[in-house]
Every structure is written in structure tokens, then in C-alpha cells.
């Protein structure tokens, strides 16, 4: 009984926004009196909303690229070597995940303020890369543990160069974990609000920042449509990951 209450408590908030978003009108209604796409129309008609969504998409895409480019080589190096201080490296890479976001947000605000980079896409992408790298690192490391390093040794004995081994032996074997890492990175960046709130300028407002101020200052019904779109993205990512994990051994 209590367990079912728990499940309901967990999923209800994510799902309740869906019917509300099709209600239309000035007031939030549940159950909706009539079905309409009006709130979605308003979302796409308002450049402040879809512009923020576009900015979030750009930031999340660039963040994902940078995070993977940095995390994959590092994860490979740490998975295949045993040297003193390796544990320390791992701890440093994972640390951003455990640091209170507000502390890092404040630090980046002071840092990028001095560099005159507040309000730029660059600062946002760099900040998000730091936040996202640990997750990508964990996902890739888990993938690398599943594969047999002997294959790489064999390839070397057969005369393949390092680059060729990495691209033709290692990477193809960790395709699924790489996809998981990319989905992770994209979604975390896309949904991130605290650091973005510190770094966003008028032209670089992301969707979560816009949403945060909209919830704080005026509860606009458009929020229901935005929330539904975000939940749909989360659900897609969640199902995508489950499918990928089923495929990998």
C-alpha cells in the first residue's frame, strides 16, 4: 500500500502537467474542460520562450560534445593504467558531482565576471561541461570495464598503431555506453538551472532559467506546455537509456 503511494508520489508530478497543458485558457485547469493546443501555440509564438529553448539546445549540444571529447580519453587512460594517484584523479573528476551547485555557481560567477564572459554562450558551455563531465566519465568507465583489454594487446601485437586501436577496437565496443553518456550529458545540461541562472544574460537565457523566473514571478499557463515538452524529453531519454542498457551485455 505505502509502496504504491510512493510510486504515485514519484510519478504523479511528472505526469500531471500533461493533461493540464492541453487545457488552454488563462487559468490552469484539471481536469481540463476542453482540449486545445492553445498553450503550445503560445509557447511557439513567443520568441522569449522558443528562443530560450533554442539557446538550451545549443548549449546542451556543445556541452555534450566537449564533455565526451574530454571524458572519453580520460576514462580510457584511467581504466587501462595503474599508477600512484589514480584514485586521486578519479576523485577530482567526480568532485563536481558532489559539490553543492550553488557554491560552484558563485565561483563561476566571480570567475567569468572578471573575464567579462557573463551572458555569453561560451561561459555557459564551459560551466556545464564541468558539471556534466563526471556523469559522462562514470558511464564511459562502466562501459570500458565490460570489454576485454586483451583485444587491444592482441591488436598491438598484430601491428596496429595506438590511434587505430583506439578508434577501431575500443570505440566500436563501447558504442552503447557512449550513447548513454551523451544522453546523460545532454539532458543534465538542458535541465540545469542554478549555474545557468548565475551566468545567463538577456540574450543567452536558457529554457530552465526562463522557466524559473516564470514560476517565481507569474504562474503562466504556458508553463504547463513547457513542462510537458520537458517531461517528454526526459521520458524519451529514460527509455533510450533502458534500451541501450539492454543491448549492452
Amino acid at each position: 500500500m505505502l509502496a504504491w503511494f510512493g510510486y504515485l508520489f514519484l510519478i504523479l508530478p511528472s505526469l500531471i502537467v500533461v493533461p493540464v497543458s492541453f487545457g488552454g485558457g488563462e487559468e490552469l485547469q484539471f481536469p481540463p474542460k476542453s482540449l486545445s493546443l492553445e498553450l503550445y501555440a503560445r509557447f511557439f509564438a513567443d520568441p522569449a520562450w522558443w528562443g530560450a529553448a533554442r539557446q538550451s539546445f545549443i548549449v546542451a549540444t556543445l556541452t555534450t560534445l566537449i564533455a565526451l571529447l574530454l571524458a572519453v580519453p580520460a576514462a580510457y587512460a584511467l581504466a587501462r593504467t595503474r599508477f600512484r594517484g589514480r584514485r586521486f584523479f578519479e576523485l577530482v573528476v567526480l568532485a563536481p558531482m558532489l559539490t553543492p551547485v550553488i557554491v560552484l555557481g558563485l565561483g563561476l560567477y566571480i570567475d567569468f565576471g572578471a573575464l567579462q564572459l557573463i551572458g555569453t554562450t561560451t561561459s555557459m558551455v564551459l560551466a556545464h561541461s564541468v558539471l556534466v563531465v563526471p556523469f559522462a566519465f562514470v558511464a564511459v568507465t562502466a562501459g570500458l570495464r565490460q570489454i576485454d583489454p586483451a583485444l587491444e594487446t592482441v591488436s598491438m601485437v598484430m601491428g596496429a598503431g595506438r590511434a587505430r586501436i583506439f578508434f577501431e577496437v575500443v570505440l566500436p565496443q563501447i558504442k552503447a555506453p557512449l550513447m548513454v553518456a551523451a544522453l546523460f550529458a545532454f539532458l543534465i545540461s538542458f535541465d540545469e538551472v542554478v549555474v545557468a541562472y548565475f551566468l545567463a544574460g538577456p540574450k543567452t537565457t536558457t529554457l530552465p532559467v526562463k522557466m524559473y523566473s516564470a514560476i517565481r514571478w507569474e504562474i503562466s499557463p504556458v508553463l504547463a506546455a513547457v513542462s510537458t515538452l520537458l517531461t517528454a524529453i526526459s521520458l524519451a531519454v529514460c527509455l533510450g537509456m533502458m534500451a541501450l542498457q539492454k543491448r549492452s551485455p
Partner: protein, 282 residues
């Protein structure tokens, strides 16, 4: 010892870029916060001394501990029940339950906060249902107060409680339970003497993880709490943006960082960091 393929130079090349990013945009900003907290070296520990005397800071600090502890406690009770339920389900249903645990984990905290406003608000679902059942006699204030923050936080923390407890439940040898049953122990006794003690590593990891996350929460208290439910993270933001007192903001941030550090150290000692993180993201 190095792997045959990678020598020291290759390892340095592979690790270098990531280390640069983290040095420039993780370690450096944190050092800047520490440096700002001592007034860039000019003020020494003045900011900390005035925090110790500030009633606002002390009240917010107490709030932060109270709210976090309460949310963790609720999350522990609910999380344990859910973990038990999942552990006893058939593998097929277990997947379904796990999706239900993981979906909120992936939902934006803003969506969840907004949803709680729709559900728990003044004109929200629960209050309208109560009003129509009781002819308008019953009305609950569930947001913009302590209850709202705790409800929102438990919703966020629950997956981090369920996963480690579930892992420690699944790791238990089922023959132990069978043996106890044959020897005549009732279900309550089996739970108290076997299940519960054996799950204590999971409980420890879950509680510490919950506390670490709860202490640093920003969005939930800002959106679902009232003026008197401000937490440390909100106070940092308040000093940064409202009063522009970066010195005080940084000192509070360092206090928060140290508190989280203590919880993380405890978590690492309980052997949990890696496991919890890997379960959460596996």
C-alpha cells in the same frame, strides 16, 4: 604499472585536457570563493566572525539542518518500503517499478516544482478535492511553507534512498530467511533480526547521500518554501544578488562546502560514494 599500449606520455596526453578544464573552471572558481570569503586577503576572517553573530545566518543554518534531516527521515521510511516492495517483486515487474523510480530522477526539478504547485496549491487538486468532500470546511496550506519544501525535497531525494537500500536488500542471501523461517521465526522477527541489520550499509549510504544533496538544495526551497524556509543556498544567492555582499556570500558558500565535505567523507568511509553513484547512473 602501465598497460602495454599506454606509456606515461600517452596517459598525460589523454588526461591533460580534462585536467585543464577542471583546474580552470572547477578548482579555480572554488579557490576564488575561498579567497573572496577572506576579503581577497584584506579582511581575514571578518566575514566568518560576523556570520557567527548574524541571527539571519544562524537561523538559516538551523533551518537547513532541520529541513534536510526531516526530508531525509521521510525519504528513509518511504524509500525503505519501496525498496522492500521492489526486492520482493518478480524480475519483470521489478523493471517496471525501477522505471517509475528513475523517471522522476530524469524529470527537471522545475517541472516537478511547478507540478507540486498545481497539485498542492491554494486552488490545487488536493485542496479542491478536500473542499468538495467537506463542503469547504477543510483547507490545507501545503506550499510556501515547511511542508511544501519537505514534500518537494522528498520527491527529489527518494531515488537516491531507494537505490542503495535496494542493492543491499538484493545482496542478502535468501537462504538466511528460509532458515530463520524453518527455525520458527515470524515475519516481524525475521525483518528485525535479519533483513534490517543486513541492509544497514544501504541505509547508511542512502541517508548520507540524501543529507549531502538536501543541504545544498536551492530550487525547491526557493519555489515551494515560504520566507522563513530559506536554506543556505538561498542565502548565498541573496547575498550575491540582492545585497551584492560577495564577501558574506562566499563565506556562507564555504561553510556549505565544508558541511557537504564532511558528509561526503562519511559516505566515502561507509564505502558508498562509488557504489551509490554507479547505481544511480548505471
Amino acid at each position: 604499472m602501465y598497460h602495454a599500449i599506454l606509456d606515461a606520455k600517452a596517459v598525460a596526453l589523454l588526461l591533460g585536457p580534462l585536467c585543464l578544464l577542471l583546474a580552470a573552471f572547477f578548482v579555480h572558481p572554488l579557490l576564488l570563493v575561498a579567497w573572496t570569503s577572506v576579503g581577497s586577503g584584506r579582511l581575514g576572517f571578518d566575514a566568518y566572525a560576523s556570520l557567527a553573530k548574524s541571527t539571519l545566518f544562524l537561523r538559516v543554518l538551523a533551518n537547513t539542518f532541520e529541513i534536510s534531516a526531516l526530508a531525509t527521515l521521510v525519504s528513509l521510511v518511504l524509500g525503505y518500503v519501496i525498496a522492500l516492495h521492489i526486492a520482493h517483486a518478480s524480475p519483470r515487474r521489478r523493471t517496471l517499478y525501477l522505471v517509475m523510480i528513475m523517471l522522476p530522477f530524469w524529470t527537471s526539478i522545475l517541472v516537478k516544482s511547478f507540478a507540486f504547485m498545481v497539485v498542492l496549491g491554494d486552488q490545487g487538486l488536493v485542496n479542491r478535492a478536500l473542499a468538495s468532500l467537506s463542503n469547504g470546511a477543510v483547507h490545507l496550506e501545503m506550499i510556501f511553507n515547511r511542508a511544501g519544501v519537505v514534500i518537494g525535497m522528498v520527491n527529489y531525494l527518494l531515488p537516491f534512498m531507494v537505490l542503495p537500500i535496494l542493492a543491499s536488500l538484493l545482496a542478502q542471501d535468501p537462504t538466511l530467511h528460509k532458515a530463520a523461517e524453518i527455525m520458527g521465526a515470524g515475519p516481524i522477527r525475521i525483518f528485525m533480526r535479519i533483513t534490517l541489520p543486513l541492509s544497514s550499509p544501504g541505509v547508511q549510504a542512502g541517508v548520507l547521500m540524501n543529507m549531502t544533496l538536501a543541504m545544498g538544495m536551492y530550487i525547491t526551497p526557493a519555489l515551494l518554501g515560504g520566507r522563513r524556509d530559506m536554506m543556505l543556498a538561498n542565502l548565498v544567492d541573496f547575498y550575491t544578488r540582492q545585497t551584492l555582499d560577495w564577501n558574506a556570500a562566499s563565506a556562507i558558500a564555504i561553510v556549505l562546502l565544508v558541511i557537504s565535505g564532511v558528509f561526503i567523507a562519511l559516505l566515502a568511509r561507509a564505502g558508498g560514494t562509488r557504489n551509490v553513484l554507479e547505481q544511480a547512473h548505471a
